[in-house]
């Protein structure tokens, strides 16, 4: 058959119509086979398409939605911090920024140049802009300058036609209207570091800040708030097409402090340029009404970044502006410690208020002579006189009798050398030494160590806040804790009630003996602090002076009679301390003052404490819900 076909094929020039071309049959059959294959292949594709679109459709539709929707978190506004009357101490302010949208201008460098003729850009700005330009996509705006003033914004708006792609945008920044006045209490915020971000995704949001000191740090989580979110439709390169859904965040909580801003200002005015700290406390509930530490710093510098030079200056300054001396400065309490020793002696039962000690100007124990501050001695003194004269020999003697452990135990209960519940970071505990503590450090406790502890010297270290707490506890007999938090979102803390605080369980008659002694210090003839007398009718104040040596005074120098601490270099002079409470007959306010290297407590610290107490009594913040008119606090300048 094949042969036959070939033969027929050999005919030439057959009319095509009549041609019996065997190849045509083969072609037709094979072409039909090809068609079958084509139809099969296309059918298979259609089947596959059906599988993807219908069977797996839901799966892919979900993936498409994930592609399309981008969820972003919105930074919540940080909570405000206000004083006890609602005056803003830390606030959020609109931060107007100039942004450049690179894709909206044809000439990026030209636009930046024209912008810099209106608003100067320094080298740091330019480097940052260049860096951001390189790393970001062209539709992501680059920040040119922030913290624009109204005037600067007006200049930009006016020149908008020559600044294509420049737009003005608003963010927030943290502002501290009172600046240095409350820097140590409020603290400051700074952009979060990588470690912060690792612990909280909220902090990864642009514009979030972390408290780095003070209440801002201590109450950071309450102030932060909860993030909101916005769902946006985005395209493949991340450009936002439209906003789908928006959920605003919960702003951080508003924190009301116990601080009276006006009183704080008065205290700072009284301290002036001395390196000092002062604490004013409500004796009944431990509310800190004012807490000043000088010198201070400007907290707003941290929000935009502190320069290296500024940082070096702060850290090298021997007046330590960055440290809140009220909670982190530790000082030997000196004679202000004597009431605590007296309480320990009375509680021990080994000493009664009427027991007398003869003071010849010194006490000899085991071959060592311990001097009284008065070379001539005070004669025979009981507890009341010993406090009034601040007789060292009396306290040497009773400390020797009762031993260090009793003193430490009582001092701790009164708030000295123990951690307090103040809502501030970086506080120090101080120290009331004991033989056990000394032994833990591989030293022997000498009898002499107990004796110098009796007058608040030696190893004893306390903070000004502890001194104020100690004074308040003596004045009321309640174990008040100092605190700064008065209310959160307007809800007043139970700590504001005096009943919240348990009793110290110290016999009232002993407390009364201490108070009477401190009354005598200020108000009786030959007391050590006559300069602390108040001039307010019907109100008396009780106090105790203290001078804390920072350098050992040799016997030879002391006996030469030429010793005068006022002639020493500043950093070797003793610290001047004063603690007080008022009114004497119904204690309400306690004040502690420590002037670094201020010499004698009676001369430097007592008048300062008196002025502070006077303003406190006049303003009477614990009994007012609105700040008093400014005139109340200004009448007393003649008493400086």
């Amino acid at each position: 058959m094949w042969l036959k076909r070939r033969k027929r094929d050999n005919r030439r020039l057959m009319p095509i119509r009549d041609q019996k071309d065997p190849a045509r049959g083969v072609f037709t059959r094979r072409a039909l086979l090809c068609m079958a294959v084509q139809a099969g292949a296309m059918g298979e594709l259609a089947r596959r398409l059906y599988h993807i679109q219908i069977n797996d459709g839901d799966h892919y539709a979900r993936m498409a939605a994930n592609n399309r929707v981008s969820k972003r978190l919105l930074a919540p506004p940080r909570g405000r911090i206000v004083d006890r009357y609602g005056i803003a101490l830390a606030n959020n302010k609109e931060n107007w920024r100039a942004l450049l949208m690179p894709e909206e201008t044809t000439d990026v460098t030209g636009t930046i140049e024209r912008f810099s003729t209106l608003i100067p850009l320094d080298e740091r700005d330019r480097n940052r802009i260049a860096r951001e330009m390189r790393h970001q996509r062209r539709f992501v705006p680059v920040m040119l300058r922030d913290f624009l003033s109204w005037d600067e914004m007006a200049r930009i708006e006016l020149n908008a036609p020559s600044l294509p792609g420049v737009l003005i945008d608003v963010g927030t920044r943290r502002v501290y209207p009172e600046g240095e006045l409350l820097a140590h209490i409020i603290g400051y915020v700074a952009p979060p570091n990588e470690n912060d971000v690792a612990h909280s995704t909220l902090l990864a949001l642009p514009g979030m800040r972390v408290g780095r000191a003070g209440i801002e740090q201590n109450q950071d989580e309450k102030l932060r708030g909860t993030a909101g979110s916005v769902e946006m439709e985005v395209n493949a390169v991340g450009r936002v097409i439209s906003e789908l859904n928006r959920e605003e965040g919960v702003p951080g909580e508003e924190i009301s402090l116990t601080i009276d801003r006006g009183l704080q200002q008065r205290v700072l005015n009284h301290i002036g340029d001395q390196t000092a700290s002062a604490v004013v406390m409500d004796c009944h509930n431990g509310e800190v009404l004012a807490m000043v530490s000088t010198p201070s710093f400007d907290p707003s510098l941290f929000d935009s970044g502190v320069s290296h030079a500024q940082w070096i200056e702060w850290t090298n300054n021997q007046h330590t502006p960055l440290i809140n001396k009220a909670v982190a400065g530790v000082y030997p309490p000196g004679s202000t410690f004597k009431p605590a020793v007296a309480m320990a002696a009375l509680e021990s039962g080994l000493v009664s208020p009427t027991d007398r000690v003869f003071c010849p100007g010194h006490l000899d124990v085991g071959g060592t002579r311990f001097h009284c501050w008065s070379r001539w001695g005070h004669g025979s003194v009981d507890l009341h006189l010993a406090l009034k004269y601040s007789c060292d020999v009396y306290f040497y003697e009773i400390a020797r009798r009762i031993g260090m452990d009793r003193i430490a135990e009582t001092a701790h209960r009164m708030g000295l050398g123990v951690p307090l519940d103040i809502e501030l970071p970086h506080t120090r505990t101080g120290l009331i030494p004991t033989p056990a503590w000394r032994q833990a450090h591989h030293h022997h406790w000498n009898g002499g160590d107990t004796i110098v502890s009796g007058i608040g010297q030696g190893f004893i270290q306390v903070t000004p806040l502890q001194l104020a707490t100690y004074t308040a506890r003596m004045a009321t007999g309640r174990a008040v804790q100092p605190h700064l938090m008065r209310a959160i979102n307007g809800e007043v803390s139970p700590m504001a009630n005096a009943e919240h605080w348990p009793s110290l369980n110290m016999p009232e008659k002993y407390l009364e003996a201490l108070r009477a002694g401190m009354f005598a210090v200020v108000n009786e003839p030959h007391g050590t602090a006559p300069k602390a007398q108040l001039d307010l009718p019907g109100i008396a104040m009780a106090g105790k002076t203290g001078s804390a040596q920072v350098r050992h005074v040799s016997r030879a120098l002391r006996e030469s009679g030429h010793f005068n601490s006022a002639n020493l270099p500043w950093e070797y002079r003793p610290h001047a301390l004063f603690i007080c409470f008022a009114p004497y007959d119904a204690p309400r306010y306690a004040v502690s003052v420590v002037i670094e290297h201020g010499n004698a407590g009676a001369d430097a610290a007592a008048p300062l404490a008196r002025n502070i107490m006077r303003d406190t009594l006049l303003r009477d913040p614990s009994n007012h819900t609105t700040p008093p008119p400014e005139s109340v606090a200004t009448v007393d300048d003649s008493f400086e």
Partner: protein
């Protein structure tokens, strides 16, 4: 001009319908505006339509004579593109000639069909049985395949080989010859894989495991399947396909345009497009079978095969059935060179139909 009426206007209508779908989809790909895709594409289609009708009028013996020149030109262009071609995605693919992007590999397919048809039209069934007569056309296929592989454009090389093979097959190659040819294929494939570019190997590996590299080489396949799948039965609506409108689809106006159709019009719309493609392919094949001269038969079959391979490779690619390969969907995808080549092919196809009864001096064996 009576010839004009012998053009299959029904087939032209189908072509216009496909181009119309292309226009509508490109309009959507640009986000609902005619520029930059839809309007230029329509203009090119108009030019292509004129070109197609003109070619359809040309008598087949003219084509036969021109075929050798076309083939030689295509080889020259293929060599030229190797040396001065513009690089696209790691491969040399196109030449700029007078501001026009010319893809020599596309033109080579048409030229190969023409030259093979010319060669086989001079061979009767008896000659086809003699392997010696098959050696020259085999080289005609292998030379462009080799040159395109060198570009390197694996997908097009395989298509050129496939077109050549289909012509050998339908021209009447003996079955034993076919079997003999198929036997060494596996070892050849292995050899070829060794000579693939890294990016081509990456395409094959990511095709096998797209989820391993969702943002890299697997991105295209995954996004394309997401677009198809999210279309569902009825689609997301014209101009509302999120994958395409939001630019998640890579090359949505060119190679992946089918996914836009599937996303916006759903399975119904996509299946309709497939049906239209099948009609065009089958129409071409029927024209081939109905043609009364050998040359026309082979031309029509070659052109239909070319069109079929275009569709097969493109659709398989967007559905993730074969590796991504830079093959557009004819008439629908945006692109001038591909459009003109396809219209040129359809012109030849229609020409065989117009001249289906023409007698050609087809030698059935001068030498026999």
């Amino acid at each position: 001009m009576a010839k004009l009426w012998r053009i299959s206007w029904l087939y032209v209508l189908l072509i216009c319908a496909l181009a119309g779908i292309g226009y509508v989809t490109l309009y959507s790909a640009a986000g609902g505006v005619p520029y930059p895709f839809a309007a230029p594409q329509a203009a090119r289609f108009a030019v292509g339509l004129v070109l197609m009708v003109t070619i359809a009028m040309l008598p087949p013996h003219l084509l036969m004579r021109a075929s050798w020149g076309m083939y030689a030109l295509s080889l020259v262009l293929l060599v030229a593109v190797l040396h001065m071609g513009h690089v696209g995605k790691g491969a040399e693919r196109w030449l700029m000639i007078g501001g026009l992007q010319v893809q020599p590999s596309e033109f080579a397919k048409i030229a190969l069909v023409a030259v093979l048809a010319t060669w086989f039209s001079r061979m009767d069934y008896a000659r086809m049985g003699n392997p010696l007569w098959l050696i020259p056309p085999a080289f005609m296929v292998l030379v462009p395949v080799g040159l395109v592989l060198k570009e390197p454009n694996l997908g097009t090389a395989v298509i050129i080989g496939g077109i050549g093979a289909s012509l050998f097959f339908t021209a009447g190659m003996r079955l034993w010859q076919i079997i003999l040819l198929i036997l060494p294929v596996p070892s050849l494939v292995q050899f070829a894989y060794g000579h693939l570019h890294d990016y081509q190997k990456a395409r094959i590996t990511t095709f096998l495991h797209p989820e391993n590299d969702p943002l890299g080489a697997g991105y295209n396949i995954i996004q394309s399947k997401i677009a198809l799948g999210s279309g569902g039965m009825w689609g997301q609506g014209y101009l509302h396909g999120s994958q395409g409108q939001l630019n998640f689809l890579p090359e949505k106006q060119t190679d992946f345009i089918f996914t836009m159709i599937a996303e916006e019009w759903g399975f119904i719309g996509a299946a309709a497009v497939i049906a239209l493609l099948v009609l065009l392919i089958m129409g071409g094949m029927i024209m081939a079978i109905r043609c009364r001269n050998r040359f026309g038969r082979l031309i029509a079959l070659g052109i239909s095969m070319n069109f079929f391979f275009y569709c097969l490779v493109n659709l398989s690619m967007v559905m993730g059935a074969i590796p991504v390969g830079g093959v557009p969907l004819p008439l629908v995808s945006y692109g001038g060179s591909a459009m003109l080549n396809v219209m040129l092919g359809f012109g030849l196809l229609l020409s065989t139909w117009v001249h289906r009864d023409t007698r050609l001096d087809e030698s059935s064996g001068h030498t026999a």
